[in-house]
Subunit: 402 residues, 2 copies
């Protein structure tokens, strides 16, 4: 059972940890429902280095990449990558001596505490992957679920470097018997006077996910920034962002899933109108998805002529096989071309289709297929919190050509 | 013949365009021979956004990435990428309306002027490639050639997006007969009172290089910055950086190489003590090269134990087949592992070799082999200007383990 202090309404805890923090007076701020001028909202202190022209600041813990800012160079630069912190970022002092950061390893034959310096000696791997918030696409749900109304920009394709989790586990003698989950705990500072389980960031994924997981100290060629989880972040390729634990202070192989609220009740596929509970599917593996980034009304007026329709496509745990594009809202489809380097199955691919546009209105969208033959669906799966929206209909862009 | 005003000593023009500019009073500054505190030198205005902790500022037109700043995530972030401009960057007004930038196409069946907006409609491709200054490694020449004493940091692996040159040529009816070179001309503002040919940035490469060349408007996911040649840069993968013309204002297919000084006399493999002339080999295609980035004395004190030796390797026009590492200055070699995504033949690969270090001194280096079987040489090829240094002996790092 989750122990909730009487002074804190349970719905706050279940709705979002940011609300819970607000209720106990920790400094966060959120977008006013009536706010109309995104440019006026300041970037969070930990992410003050982001490019304000490329992002939409929703709150002090949520920043989205503008759809028109996504380029065609596959890797999303750090200064335009989305930000979504479940709790405020820890004090910047934790990145002052990165190599001294400690992580406790549990559920292995020889549990121990390791520093980043230790980890650096144990192995090195690099992976390119889509980092995507579980709620990316929530903004397209007509039900307007609570939470940040992301459209497409709570996602990016980034490169991580660190030690493979499997190398660390091997060095510590392998898993203890019966351990079925890999459970990561974040190093955020928790407020006093509240049961940590109600607010801490702790997530479990199947232990098999350690196969390609990293304990990463580098993102896109630079030490992982505080905003993105430095000095050390657990990276679980193919899983939604919440499973890649920032400021990771403990990695435990466990017999059961974590009973922290964020795992047991949060991030569940809850029927509309319902409340999250452990019997519902957890939001973990990503599935096949794509969207068009250009043309887009944000990019300015469109003129008659040829355009290179382009966007991104990814498969979650599998590579993308192909992408089709429609300019009439899904009545007719044409095969797009995948272009640029292939950075591996966890990365997104960039697709391009040249098309001639006469004056008129168009509904432009894309539909990806993964290597297992799964096709991106037309419709979203309705759920209370607006998770896992992969609907190609929702991601369609209406453009007018003069 | 090159026409040089009587007031300008010829040696200035041949030594470097920066010196020539200084001679006629254009604002540039260079590192004083006695300067000892790199941190005190300011970043050039056009590159003020670079990370000062990751770079060495040599002059107002030359900035080098620190060897210890190279990460292991393959792509070099823009804020630590080297900078080398042959002339001062144009005024920032040229990136105010990027789509309006014009380029003249010549030596094709239907020569014409095109805007970036036109180019965007004509095609889209993305390429990852090593961008490397011809003089990278010059600092290892005992002869101390004039020019920036780069060690390894006048190189990076970056991603470019733009229209394939071949798509533009096809759209303009193909090449005119007899055109053997692709000649790009930069859009830098040239000083009055001096023959443009003596100072302009104009380079020719074989017309066949257009096969993978781009006219690029995006680098690493963002519009190409002014410092790196925006709004439009010619990208010639596999060739040294000087051939990828910034602010390109003309792309001409020509029967002869350009007679601009930078082509006819500059960037030539000139015998030691000699002067550049058109009979000498031009610095164009890159060849197989690698170096170790870690361990490195800059990274701090090294302790006994396991280390992951890592670095980068590339083949120029060919992919890398493999890399060997030596910790005893080349007496013994061990095969390293290529790790991380493979971004194509023009990109560099990251290599890793775990090694146990007892207390002592080590001379750590690497030797790459390309797909054609070319092996990175032990010795540099001596030349007057210190170009094309691929010597694995020169790139060795001496480290001491306590």
């Amino acid at each position: 059972m989750i122990d909730i202090p009487a002074s804190l309404p349970r719905r706050h805890l279940l709705a979002s940890s940011a609300s819970a923090l607000a209720a106990i007076g920790m400094a966060t701020w959120t977008r006013s429902a009536t706010a109309q001028a995104p440019a006026a909202r300041p970037l969070p202190a930990s992410a003050s280095w982001k490019n304000p022209a490329s992002v939409i600041v929703h709150s002090s813990t949520t920043v989205e990449t503008k759809r028109s800012a996504f380029g065609t160079s596959i890797i999303t630069p750090a200064d335009q990558l989305y930000l979504r912190n479940n709790l405020p970022a820890p004090d910047a002092s934790i990145v002052a001596d990165r190599d001294a950061w400690k992580i406790t390893l549990q559920g292995v034959q020889r549990p121990r505490k390791l520093t980043v310096r230790d980890l650096r000696s144990m192995g090195l791997e690099t992976v390119a992957m889509v980092l995507q918030c579980s709620g990316n696409g929530r903004g397209f749900f007509p039900s307007k679920p609570s939470g940040t109304p992301w459209t497409v920009g709570a996602a990016g394709c980034v490169v991580w470097s660190g030690v493979p989790v499997r190398a660390v586990v091997e060095a510590l003698g392998g898993l203890s018997p019966g351990m079925r989950f890999m459970t990561g705990t974040g190093g955020e500072k928790l407020p006093e006077g509240i049961d940590p389980k109600t607010i801490m960031v702790e997530r479990s994924v199947p232990a098999s996910a350690m196969g390609d997981a990293l304990l990463a100290w580098e993102m896109n060629g630079e030490p992982v920034s505080l905003a993105h989880g430095g000095p050390l972040r657990l990276i679980v390729p193919g899983y939604t962002g919440v499973n890649s634990i920032k400021y990771i202070k403990q990695l435990a192989f466990t017999a059961q899933e974590s009973d922290a609220n964020i795992m047991s009740h949060g991030y569940r596929i809850t029927p509309p109108g319902g409340k999250g509970d452990p019997s519902q599917p957890s939001v973990q593996e990503m599935t096949v998805k794509s969207w068009v980034n250009s043309p887009h009304p944000e990019s300015g007026p469109l003129r008659e002529g040829w355009m290179q329709i382009h966007g991104v496509a990814f498969g979650g745990l599998q590579a993308v096989k192909g992408v089709e594009v429609s300019i009439d809202g899904g009545k007719n489809w044409q095969k797009a071309r995948l272009v640029g380097p292939d950075l591996g199955k966890y990365a997104w691919r960039q697709f391009v289709l040249p098309a001639h546009f006469s004056p008129g209105s168009y509904l432009v969208t894309s539909r990806a297929t993964d290597m297992a033959g799964n096709v991106q669906p037309e419709q979203r799966v309705e759920n209370q919190s607006g998770y896992n929206n992969t609907s190609w209909a929702d991601h369609a862009v209406k453009v007018t050509v003069a």
